[in-house]
Symmetry: C2
Subunit: 352 residues, 2 copies
Amino acid sequence: MRIVLDAMGGDHAPGVVVEGAVQAARQWGTEIILVGQEDVVRAELAKHDTAGLPLSIVHASQVVTMEEHTMAVKQKKDSSMMVGMRLVKEGQADAFASAGNSGAVLAAAIFGLGRIRGIARPALATVYPAAPGPCLLLDMGANADCKPEYLLQFALMGDAYARQLFGMERPRIGIVSNGEEEDKGSMLVRETYPLLKASGLNFIGNVEGKDIGRGLADVVVTDGMTGNVIVKLSEGLLSFLARFLKEQFTSGWRNRLGLALMVPGLIAMLPGLALMLPTLRNLRRRMDWREFGGAPLLGVDGVVVIGHGRSDAVAIKNMVRSAQTAVQQDVVGTIKEALAQRGMDRQGQMEV
Amino acid sequence: MRIVLDAMGGDHAPGVVVEGAVQAARQWGTEIILVGQEDVVRAELAKHDTAGLPLSIVHASQVVTMEEHTMAVKQKKDSSMMVGMRLVKEGQADAFASAGNSGAVLAAAIFGLGRIRGIARPALATVYPAAPGPCLLLDMGANADCKPEYLLQFALMGDAYARQLFGMERPRIGIVSNGEEEDKGSMLVRETYPLLKASGLNFIGNVEGKDIGRGLADVVVTDGMTGNVIVKLSEGLLSFLARFLKEQFTSGWRNRLGLALMVPGLIAMLPGLALMLPTLRNLRRRMDWREFGGAPLLGVDGVVVIGHGRSDAVAIKNMVRSAQTAVQQDVVGTIKEALAQRGMDRQGQMEV
């Protein structure tokens, strides 16, 4: 499997991207094509021991910056994003991954790979860590403004991908709203509701904010703005909570003395804690946003994965893993097949 | 001060509403008028020792159920909601509080009390527990669909109320979006941005989901659907996290043995924990949704507070406290004055 990595994409590119590529190639033996300004990328590669690693460089003279307007990508035909997409389009690579400006990656994917027939707007999907089981949330940010037909298409794509990803027959589909009742929600939600109800999908109705983490639905559909707020708020709340608790328990003499008095007890707890280390490590890993890797862009005709702009090397390495998973699970074929079975071709054509 | 309580509003009305009223009257000496079907309310009151408590009943023959359509309130002129609003309108009470169907309370408030001049849509405001300081979030659910002018008005109301509530000169105003940059967000957000920028308010720009809990803004403005998802997701995440951790640490022999081995250490920590009790109690209180009480409905010409439908007696008691606070802080006068100073009268009239 060959993954194209956008060497110029992300707040800390190209340094951390190259470092992450080296780590991924070493850990999993993944064949990685770094696309970017060759001299710059080569200089970064020289900082690492890359002997025997399946890394190569493809030159792209232009760079789409994080601040640039999404449509800049249209003008920059020789940007790392456009060159990378061409490699996938021409079958020279299996997937494209980038931590760059997500709007620009989206535009490059649409220009470079095209959409799957039947899909008006591609959507970013993420696995949200609900309990008891995780759920697939989409769109997490590709489309700030949506129409009911888009949300229906997100549901169809989410259904197909969740069946593959979670190995389930009929994933439960929910739509984010501000109340459980059918008449609750924005006009968009209320207009999407009957489409989902008539879709033949296993639609369970509205899902409120408090229920997203409860695993009531296996696929949670929403517009890109709400989805983005949900994902970022969830990330932020964990670190907020940790900071808040720390502040609370280290302020005032009572708490400080209390903590000091607890030290012998904490020491006595160490053997027990040692036994729990695997669970603790697993937890730390699950709460680390860098483990998330990247979100697949569903609906484009090729595997595209988008990572956090603030990615460090570990996050980039995991983005490569996300891309590998998306290729292995044949995200494109799965969605194409599901849409073809529904005869969505013409509807999609009309929608665009 | 006299608070009208909607005895028929809420999933567990009238039982818990009457019980909460008794608790509030006993704890704070609040004068409470219970509005509802007199015989039913009287029967509930008889279950408690109400001797000497400043509780009274005003009869209202009709009930707006939790499931009924919002507009049902229009037909039910003798419902507890409409009768209660009249008591406030006529100056017989200072505030109206209900845990009933929030859409219906909103409609009753607009019909019964009218809007403040300059306000097209009232908004539900809530104090969101950010760190370092809390922020005022609105709208948390009154208006699922908004226009840029509404969001501007929410910002003006939020600014006025936050100055009073937090005792600050120029609260920082932010708008929820899916990116920090000015061009990020839904069309609604992008169209509101220039209005806020030109408003003379201390507008700091877009606030992402991950930053809401970080206290970057003192007033966070958003449409009612996004606001509702933010508040409910935040509530849900805490209980999700607690459940998740419990599951993780009580599964498998390693964890169970680890926990058993930690018991002596935990016992040794008790003196330290005892010192920290005030902080622990405070934390438990802050994480308890029942302590939230209710959210004031900003923009109607009278104090109206809306509580959780699932309120129990403790939550109802705290809703009475929220109403008292809103009256003491003169939420209506504060907003009226702020709008009058801006000469918003005509604009508001045009908007409606």
